[in-house]
Amino acid sequence: MRFPTISKKLVLFLSLLIFILVVSSIFLIIVFSLPQLPDRLQDLVLSTPTEIYSDTGELIISLSNREEVQLSQISQHFINAILAMEDTEFYKHHGLNKKGLLRALFNHFIRFRRSGGGSGITQQLAKNMYFSFDRSWNRKMKDALLACQMERRYSKEEILEAYCNQIDFGSNCFGIEQAAQTYFAKHADELTLAEAAFLANIPRWPTYYNPYLNFDITKQRQEIVLKRMHKAGFISQQDMEQAMAESIDLKRLNLFWGKASYYIDYVKNIVEEIYSNEVLSYGGLKIYSSLDTRLQNFAQEAVTQGLIGLDKRLGFKDYDLASVEEKQLYIQAALVAMDPRNGKVSAMVGGRDFSVSPFNRAISNNRLPGSAFKPFVYLAAIDKGKYTPATIVLDSAVTFEFDDQKWSPPNFDKKFRGPVTLKTALMKSINVVTAKLINDIRPETVIDYARDMGIKSPLGAHLSLALGTSSVSPLELCDAYCPFSNGGISREPLILKYIENYQGKTLHEFSSHSAQIVDPQSIYLVLDMLRAAVEVGTAESIREIWSFDRPAAGKTGTTNDARDLWFVGFTPQLVTAVWVGYDDNRPVKDKNGIELTGAAAAIPIWVVFMKNALKNERYRSFPIPEGIIFERVDPTTGEIVPPSFPNAQEVALKAGTVLVKKY
């Protein structure tokens, strides 16, 4: 009979032992799976963030969106607000806010309400620093265990400081310093009670309580924060009421925020290609770009306003009211502006809305240039010495045969004008004449010239190349027009100027490779023709409708069925290419089904941008190189005519060019 008694106790003992062993093992397994803590919390703080600067040295963006500050540099109001909202017991507990935990458990299991607030500040810090954002019990347990160790290892001040520096405030900013700058244009130690309480609630649900999206809701939540602060004894009734009555004025420290997303994205891509993603994101680089913030603002504004105007014309509802899916179907635009004197890409807009579609249309070479490609054909023809701007070519129906195929290029307006000068042909964008030119000088010659000018995309060596049937990007087309504005000097587009490491040592210098690629006289002859396109040609709306009165030249481009609408225009100071079209390549037609042209869709954007961009610039004329003469010719015969001749056309010619005189 004794044996069973002993056995029962033994079993009990052994069971207890096994239980303890199992619990201990599980505990140890969990503990050893916890991440290691560093000696000091600051040791894990990321190094200086990579920063991108404008051409004039303004900070455009800090890539980490996080700026560490010491606790002493944070407004006491904010610290109090955070303590009142997240963990009133913070200075009393050793890791776990048990009251909060019990309250959360009670709400969860008894009142069946999902409520946060169970985790104290230390636990939240542990979660944010080490774990993913799943809501499992396993993760919560690990948070709790790590929080206990953190309290053992670090002081309360260290924990609170680290917490304030890493919480998510929405709008892609982390930490109170960035939040203060993003929402109130001030530093963390300058926040008033009302502002501090306003910000303290945002981390609870950063996307929903984003003040730029839901200001009223966030303002209501501020009152809850203030009430809790009062209840916790941080502020008096009077302070609370005063702060509630105070108006909240949102203001960004970086007013340029969000206006150069495509440019910045392109800069990041270039730097990432040179170094690595790690170096870009964590290297603390200082990247100096060519971006001109003033021009970029104007570019963004011109594209936005231009597209709003087009939306109405095309029958779209207000873009802001459209769903994300609907927005994908809206008309798009891209704009690139370059300074032809040094190759700097001053402004770049790659689409209407980076947050909806980050695809950069300014650099992607998937759009046909149409007639905007023609100047390269005329340049090749003139520079080869076979043609002058006064040369007469017959604008008539023609059929070319090649590779057993026939091609009859149509004119845009379906009309034929008979004998015309080359100047008329380019300024009126006559397809037949351009096709005849390329047929004469051969596509390979045109390709050579286009390459020299700056076109890098693949170009098909066929006759239709003359009409822009090989796709290019707005950036390269803009670059390829620079020599027209610049006496035949080509420039490589300069996006970056130089890169420094965090100690200020220059790691990489960039320069725009330049070369005199075409005789300045030949260039000037084409420039003169492109000026005529603006004065009396396909781009005359620049003068007639938009009253742009500076010396300018340029070329429109409209592809078949109006799928790509272009205008590339320039002054001596600035070359700007504008593209308009749909991402899915459908024709751009207005409400009545009428196709739009480059002049109708792209020129308004170009003009609005150029007017603003050049507002403070002196009027400059295109310099005329030595050896250029001007003659008045009969536009139907190309013969020199007396001054009294009606409808004479003035053409620029190289000195020594022999033209027949009509008198």
Partner: protein, 315 residues
């Protein structure tokens, strides 16, 4: 039925009472319960469990993995720093990049060797002043050079020579382009030959023929003239200071034109000579010649005459 149900209810209550009585009289259970209560109170007042757990976990810290979001970032951070360190180490020593170029021959040799040179704005100015003006003007016009200098942005000049072209890039402190020129490649080959090409002399000019004196003779007389006369002869004496020892000869024009007489200075500009002129008052020139003839009677230099001759007063 009701009676049966009532009995069942009584039985249930009796059993419950029995269990409660048993529990309340069972010492172990009471002790355990009290212990739990006491431990809970202690935990809520002293946090002993958290402290103990914290201490226990702390002991394991060195043996735990460096995992989790922040360690991943930390690794990337370190990786980035390592890569940056390598990039920085691989950078050339920029101080050695500025070549020692003091004359045109050095420029040509270096360009032949390296193809590309980057020199300071001052170095370029120095070289520019060594080149005969008709050649230097092809590189950059003096007016453009003045504009560059006055912009105060010009710090560097990059010169690139390829097989077929020569390019000059005028850059700012950030090595960004301010201006560029593309003179003919022949400029480079003309420069070292400039000595032969540009050896002008006062003696070869009609208006100074037989009317030149050495710099020493000029200054022997000039230095003793009253300041008022000196300034009527040379209205910008600073220029004389600049040339001083490089002046080879001085010529006095044989003609007076609107009470003005041209004085020519033949100046050694390195590998070539250049002629510079001043417009002097005829009265001062007469005074100078008088003193010159007194000091060097063998010269017996004629006074300038009013211009009646067919010779133009330029060279």
């Amino acid at each position: 039925m009701k009676e049966k149900e009532l009995n069942l209810e009584i039985t249930k209550n009796q059993r419950l009472n029995e269990i409660i009585t048993k529990l309340l009289t069972n010492r172990r259970i009471i002790i355990t319960f009290v212990l739990i209560i006491v431990l809970t109170i202690i935990e809520f007042t002293t946090d002993f469990a958290e402290i103990m757990i914290g201490n226990a976990i702390e002991l394991t810290n060195p043996y735990r993995p460096k995992s989790g979001t922040i360690w991943e970032l930390h690794k990337k951070d370190r990786l980035a720093n390592e890569q940056l360190e390598e990039i920085t180490k691989a950078l050339p020593d920029r101080k050695q990049e500025i070549p020692e170029i003091n004359d045109l021959l050095q420029l040509k040799i270096k360009l032949e060797e390296q193809g590309t040179l980057q020199i300071t704005a001052d170095q370029f100015r120095n070289l520019y002043n060594q080149i005969p003006t008709r050649i230097s003007g092809d590189i950059i016009t003096p007016l453009d050079l003045l504009k560059l200098s006055h912009s105060k942005k010009w710090i560097w000049t990059k010169i690139v020579k390829s097989d077929s072209s020569l390019s000059f890039y005028f850059l700012d402190g950030d090595k960004q382009l301010l201006m560029d020129t593309y003179p003919s490649l022949s400029v480079l080959y003309t420069i070292p030959e400039a000595e032969q090409l540009h050896q002008v002399s006062l003696d070869s000019m009609m208006i100074y023929k037989g009317r030149t004196i050495s710099a020493e003779m000029f200054f022997l007389v000039f230095d003793d003239l009253p300041n008022s006369i000196k300034l009527r002869l040379i209205n910008n004496p600073f220029q004389l200071v600049k040339w001083d020892r490089n002046i080879q000869k001085v010529g006095i024009s044989r003609y007076i034109n609107d009470n003005v007489v041209t004085i020519g200075f033949q100046v050694n500009e390195g590998i070539y000579t250049e002629i510079y002129t001043f417009q002097a008052s005829d009265f001062a020139v007469d005074y100078f010649i008088e003193k010159l003839n007194e000091l060097f009677p063998e010269l017996s230099l004629d006074y300038p005459e009013e211009k009646y001759s067919a010779f133009p007063d330029y060279f």
